[in-house]
Amino acid sequence: MIAIKLAYKNLVGAGLRTWLNVSVLSFAFVLMIFYNGMIEGWNRQARNDTQDWEIGEGQYWEQSYDRYDPYTFQDAHKPVSEDIAAMIDRGELTPILVRQANMYPEGRMQSVLLKGVDPNQKILKLPTSDLNNVQNGYSAIIGRRMADDAGLKVGDKVLVRWRDKNGMFDAIDINIAAIFKTDVPSVENGQMYLDINVLQEMIGLPNQATLLVAGDNSSLSEIDGWNFKTTDFLLKEFDALIQSKKAGGMVMSGMLLLIALLAIFDTQVLSIFRRQKEIGTYIALGMTRSQVVGIFTVEGGAHSILAAIVGAAYGIPLFLWLDNIGLSFGSSSQDMGIAVADIIYPYYSIGMILSSLLLVVISATIVSYLPARKISKMRPTDALKGKLQ
């Protein structure tokens, strides 16, 4: 207790130097929490969005289907059994038929993935119902970035060429019925959504599907002849990206923390050198040398407590404010190829804040202890003379 009181008095008494150290440390602390909060907020939003738009509660893949291998697409389809059809009717599943094709916007060739979806499905956020109110036969909806890339507008027609079930080429003009806006690039890049019945007819595969997306009310039980893929599996790449972003953030706040720790270390070395007489006096008054080491360690470590208080003083209002307005990453972030909402709302968990705090306190205490150890090797008579080194 005496050490804490003394530490506080000495720190505050040291004035500017203390506050400089404390501000750098608090900045590291706030940045650490902020960055982690941003990533976590992004993580949560992006996971939700990707689930809502693309993967639902999981997917059943036709056995040969592999979304990472376009060569599997040609043969990845199988009839929808009566059991499955019943589940589709109950809204537990929605079928998607996938077909590789080429399109020719303004005469340029561009590969495109045709996806047949049920216009009446409610599982995915895709505005598939836009496929319902079309008059002239072959219509599709596409995402906004896809539309921009291909230079397509609503009402445009684009020539699409594909192979039917026998491998024969066929081509037709497809009408762009609607353009939708989404934060999930993987649901629109190079993709075109058609009514599944239309696509089945185009390929000659009536009642067949490549994959089935599970909805909220699905039991997620095994279905014979289909491979169930969990959301974790389907978000694997995304999780890896989040992990790497987190590591990047750690490096950044770690550097800042390191600077702050160096400053504290330096302050400690200097203050132990300058305050030898004080150290000698403590010993003359009856402290053991290890108690004096304790005083100096607590004093250095207390930088982190002040940093937490100062950090909280400007961090909490800042975080609350950010939580209200969210943070915009602008449209450039859309090139990342991964779901990024226009506005990200950071997410702060108690665990994350506490572990950041703990990290800062422990590391500040360690760098304070290291130079303070020297005191235990000092001879009190030399310390009192203040003439060491």
Partner: protein, 242 residues
């Protein structure tokens, strides 16, 4: 009953490849309640001897016993305990803690003793009364004069009611008036509380207050005499030189 007992003490400091003998052949006994001083030229070993008595240092040879305990045989913890409870230090440069108020400076050793706050306050106020500084309890050392600082230091040394107070050149930084004030205060505490005082000094003003004067020269005891013997010898020297 002797409270300090020094037998054939020798103190060497390593210097370069060899040793420097700062004290040798020291035999001194100090009784409880004495008001004694070590005098001698600079470098004669006064501070070194006081440090050993205060258990801040240990003898190279011989023994130094303080309150019946041999300094060389105390553990770190025991010697810290001895200083905390039984020995008060007063330094030439006061050595007050700059961030603490007068009250807190005086209170410090009591905090190490885990005394209750009420008792501490009583003891601190009593000690400040002895030195006449009850009106400065909340001042910081930087706001005090040198004389006042040294009085705070005396209060800090006295607050724990020690058996021994060791004062290393306590008046060296003070003017004559303050020096006399401080010495009168210490003399009074010595009489009233029976605390043993051991000084080191070059200061003539201090010498006239001492009951016993031990002169060191080159690390050896040159003379060990009472105030009366000292005064007589001084007078005769003055007489002779005239």
């Amino acid at each position: 009953m002797s409270i300090i007992k020094i037998n054939n003490l020798e103190k060497q400091f390593p210097v370069g490849d060899g040793f420097f003998t700062a004290l040798s052949d020291i035999n001194i006994e100090v009784k409880k309640g004495e008001f004694a001083g070590l005098i001698g030229p600079s470098g004669s070993g006064k501070t070194t001897l006081l440090n050993i008595i205060g258990s801040l240092d240990t003898p190279t040879k011989g023994t130094a016993e303080v309150m019946g305990k041999s300094i060389a045989e105390l553990s770190y913890k025991q010697s810290a305990g001895l200083r905390n409870r039984h020995i008060g230090f007063i330094f030439q440069t006061y050595n007050l803690l700059p961030v603490y108020t007068v009250f807190e400076n005086v209170e410090f050793s009591l905090l190490l003793q885990k005394m209750s706050a009420v008792e501490r306050k009583k003891a601190v106020m009593q000690a400040l009364e002895w030195v006449g500084l009850t009106d400065k309890v909340d001042s910081k050392p930087s706001m005090l004069s040198g004389g006042e600082c040294q009085r705070v230091a005396i209060a800090r040394a006295m607050v724990k009611r020690p058996e021994i107070v060791l004062a290393d050149e306590p008046t060296a930084n003070l003017d004559s008036e303050n020096s006399h004030h401080i010495l009168r205060t210490m003399k009074k505490l010595n009489k009233e509380l029976g605390v043993t005082f051991v000084f080191s000094t070059h200061d003539e003003k201090v010498m006239q207050y001492l009951d016993r004067i031990i002169a060191l020269e080159d690390g050896k005891v040159l003379r060990d005499e009472t105030q009366e013997e000292f005064a007589v010898r001084k007078n005769s020297q003055i007489y002779k030189t005239k």
